[in-house]
């Protein structure tokens, strides 16, 4: 158990939609991760400064600071932290658009998630 605890990877979910937060948290917990979620970019930044995370799953369109800005701040304060963009926004559905703001298309997962196996594999690869 303690070994397991030590090995347990920690994921942060940032999304303003409470249902998405709940469902995603449930799913990833069932996958065996330790999961925390926050409703805003500011809350996320506060948490990231105090705790270690292996992965952040970030929504793009949020009130206040949006996902894009949050990622730029993460790159400054925790350069090593990996992240997945989880977005339903139309602006990021095409690879060139993402490249323009320095985001690797492989790091993007569009809402709604259709292929959960693929998603699970991606998360596992990112945290290891």
């Amino acid at each position: 158990m303690t070994d397991m605890d030590k090995q347990m990877k920690k994921i942060l979910i940032v999304d303003d939609d409470e249902q998405v937060r709940f469902n995603l948290t449930t799913y990833l917990k069932d996958e065996g991760y330790e999961v925390l979620n926050v409703p805003s970019a500011m809350d996320a930044l506060a948490l990231i400064e105090r705790q270690h995370f292996d992965l952040a799953i970030v929504d793009m369109r949020m009130p206040g600071m949006n996902g894009e800005e949050l990622i730029m701040r993460i790159n400054q304060v925790k350069p090593g932290l990996r992240y997945i963009i989880h977005t339903g926004s139309l602006g990021f559905s095409v690879p060139e658009d993402l490249a323009q703001i320095g985001i690797n298309p492989d790091d993007v997962v569009t809402k709604p998630i259709k292929d959960f196996e693929l998603f699970s594999r991606k998360v596992k690869a990112m945290v290891s």
Partner: protein, 697 residues
């Protein structure tokens, strides 16, 4: 009277009279009375005639050239042969009683003062002849000899001559006054006119002083030949002909001349010439009046110029411009009107405009009203149909006003193209707004859809026995996981969950396509894999459904045949997708009948490389399109569907996208009963590259 005449026959009378008229009158009277008459115009001639053939009576005037009446009388009374012949003075000028006494003393029988009636003179003559027969030469004793007679005679003649001189002076004065009056008239004319006389040789003999105001020359300077002043203006060409006619004595109408002013500038004159004829009818001089009409001609030319300018402006307009008079009949008809109608201005003048321009037929009352109100009116986008063609016109009526309405100018612009483009823009606009709406909807739908799919995923996992956490909770609650699993399966809960998940997935696919379709076109051609676009269009078509369920792709077999290794083609993927989707929808609608009759319904999409372009064909095995329809199929607003079912814009927008944005070609091949094939040809990179370069430079 006839008796008298018989008695008088053979009686000879000599009349001495210098005035032709008086002599003739008297001669006629005596002739008629039966006398034999001889005439003489002075005393000398009378004396000569009397000596050759002595008369029975003399009748003589007093004042005559050569030899006067007194002298004649004296010679006769001294002549041995003639002295007894009675002598009558017949005179107008002698009114003095001394004259009468003188004449009596000279032996004259009577002294008659003119005028007397013919009867009276005849009566006097008869009396004198009778007296003469009785008294035979008992001549009155002369006065006191010849010297006294001479003195009386001289006095008398001097008086008479004074009289005559005074009369002549009066006559001369009157003539002088008349001439001065005429001169004042001639010389008084000024500014624009001068008068002249010239000989038949063409040299001026007189010009009135106003020549100086008109042409700058003094009167003396101008007395040369007229041709010295002529310019080379063609207007002067008539001059020679007129000159010749005047020379023949013809009266010619006024004509124009151009001559040099002394300072060198050209003056335009209007000439009125009158030939002067001598007694024999020969022209000896020409008189005329010249009128300076330089300003009038300049004004006329300016008017002509403005009229020309107006006409040119009128003609240069790209609009149809029709001037109508107050009766509403064509008074102006510009070149565009000629071009559009094929009716010349000369044929159009005087006609009703609506007869020449059928697009005005529906608006005749409106035009009349505008002219009545005197206010400009405008009608926009008026539809006019003629057979298969329909045109849209803007019609403007500008009433012409001075004091009252004096007609109007009607302007007609063919705005069909503008109306078409506007309609196309409306369509694009609609699509853009639908696209914008789709984008917003997609985002809003995707979040709850995400919650649904992930929730379903979580539920499925939490009812399955595989998950360690499930076991822990089940054990704590004493729940048999195996039984729960069986229950869920028996009650088909898992199946229900799968249906929910599939439905959510389908909804998500639709939203994805909507998003792709609504992406704002960047209007930048990019190299795109055509097959991908075709695939995505077909996929879009499959999920496309019509609210009225008039077609359904599930009943249609879609066959795709794509040549391998097709070159990429520069295009805007979303627009090309829109075009293909539109073709597929049209094909599906055409196949409705096949489906209803249970016949095979097929759409074939083929792509081939052909020279410097890629050819995409979309064909169906529907009823086909007849030739008439084929001609109009790309026209805006053309639709074969019932009202409300089609905009008639789909193919025209597609046509625009292919030909304008992609520099390609789009056309249709079809025969009734043999299906329809729409062909799109898109230039490959080389060609398009050149085009793009040309556009950007």
């Amino acid at each position: 009277m006839a008796e008298d005449n018989n008695q008088r026959a053979g009686i000879r009378i000599i009349i001495a009279e210098d005035d032709d008229d008086s002599r003739l009158v008297l001669q006629r009277i005596l002739d008629a009375a039966g006398y034999s008459v001889d005439v003489a115009s002075d005393g000398e001639e009378a004396l000569k005639k009397a000596r050759q053939n002595p008369p029975d009576l003399f009748i003589s005037d007093i004042l005559m050239p050569q030899m006067d009446g007194f002298q004649l009388c004296r010679y006769i009374k001294q002549d041995e042969v003639l002295k007894d012949i009675p002598f009558i003075f017949y005179t107008a000028t002698y009114t003095d009683s001394d004259d009468e006494r003188l004449s009596k003393s000279m032996g004259a029988a009577r002294y008659v003062i003119k005028p007397v009636t013919p009867d009276k003179i005849l009566q006097i003559i008869d009396e004198v002849l009778k007296e003469n027969a009785k008294t035979q030469a008992e001549a009155e004793v002369p006065l006191d000899g010849p010297s006294q007679l001479d003195a009386m005679y001289l006095q008398s003649v001097a008086r008479k001559l004074n009289e005559k001189v005074r009369a002549l002076e009066e006559e001369h004065l009157a003539l002088q006054q008349s001439e001065e009056k005429f001169r004042r008239l001639v010389e008084g004319i000024s500014d624009e006119y001068f008068m002249y006389s010239r000989g038949i040789d063409g040299v001026f003999t007189y010009v009135s002083p106003s020549i100086q105001q008109v042409l700058g020359y003094t009167q003396a300077e101008f007395l040369t030949h007229f041709s010295d002043y002529l310019t080379d203006n063609p207007v002067n060409e008539k001059m020679r002909e007129y000159s010749e006619r005047i020379g023949r004595g013809e009266k010619v109408p006024g004509y124009e001349l151009e001559v040099y002013h002394k300072d060198g500038h050209a003056c335009r004159l209007e000439i009125q010439n009158t030939p002067l004829l001598d007694g024999a009818g020969k022209v000896y001089a020409v008189e005329g009046i010249a009128h300076d009409i330089t300003e009038r001609v300049a004004a006329r030319e300016e008017l002509d110029r403005i009229r020309h300018l107006l006409k040119n402006v009128f003609d240069s307009m790209p609009s149809i411009l029709v001037g109508v008079d107050s009766e509403g009949r064509v008074s102006q008809w510009n070149r565009e009107a000629e071009r559009v109608t094929g009716v010349d201005e000369s044929q159009a003048l005087g006609q009703k405009p609506a007869q020449l321009l059928p697009q005005l037929q529906a608006h005749v009352a409106y035009i009349t009203e505008a002219m009545k109100d005197g206010k400009p009116k405008k009608l926009t986008g008026q539809l006019y149909r003629s057979g298969d063609t329909q045109t849209y016109s803007d019609i403007m009526i500008y009433p012409l006003l001075d004091n009252r309405v004096n007609g109007a100018v009607i302007r007609v612009d063919d705005v069909s193209e503008r109306v078409r483009i506007e309609a196309m823009m409306v369509q694009t606009e609609k699509m853009v707004s639908v696209g914008g709406l789709a984008a917003g909807m997609a985002h809003e739908i995707n979040n709850p859809l995400g919650a649904i799919t992930m929730g379903l995923q979580n539920i499925q996992r939490r009812v399955s026995p595989g998950l360690a956490a499930n076991k822990e909770v089940a054990e704590r609650l004493g729940l048999d996981m195996e039984k729960l699993q069986t229950y869920v399966e028996d009650r088909e809960i898992l199946k229900m969950l799968n249906i929910l998940r599939e439905s959510a997935s389908r909804a998500s696919t639709i939203v994805d396509h909507m998003l792709k379709f609504s992406r704002k076109p960047e209007k930048r051609l990019e190299l795109v894999d055509l097959e991908g676009i075709i695939n995505s269009s077909v996929e879009l078509a499959r999920v496309d459904y019509d609210l009225n369920k008039r077609y359904d792709f599930r009943n249609i077999k879609i066959r795709q045949d794509c040549e391998p290794d097709l070159p990429e083609v520069p295009c805007i993927a979303s627009e090309l997708e829109q075009v293909i989707l539109n073709l597929l929808r049209n094909a599906a609608q055409a196949l409705e009948e096949n489906i209803r009759q249970g016949a095979a319904a097929e759409i074939g999409i083929t792509m081939r490389r052909s020279d410097d372009h890629v050819r995409i064909e979309v064909e169906d095995n529907g009823p086909g399109i007849d030739l008439d329809t084929q001609r109009q199929v790309f026209d805006h607003f053309f639709t074969t569907r019932a009202p409300g079912e089609g905009t008639g814009l789909g193919l025209s927008v597609s046509y625009f996208i292919i030909t304008d944005t992609h520099h390609g070609r789009m056309f249709v091949e079809s025969e009734p009963g043999k299906g329809a094939r729409f062909i799109i040809e898109l230039p490959t990179e080389d060609v398009a590259g050149r085009v793009t370069k040309t556009l950007s430079t």
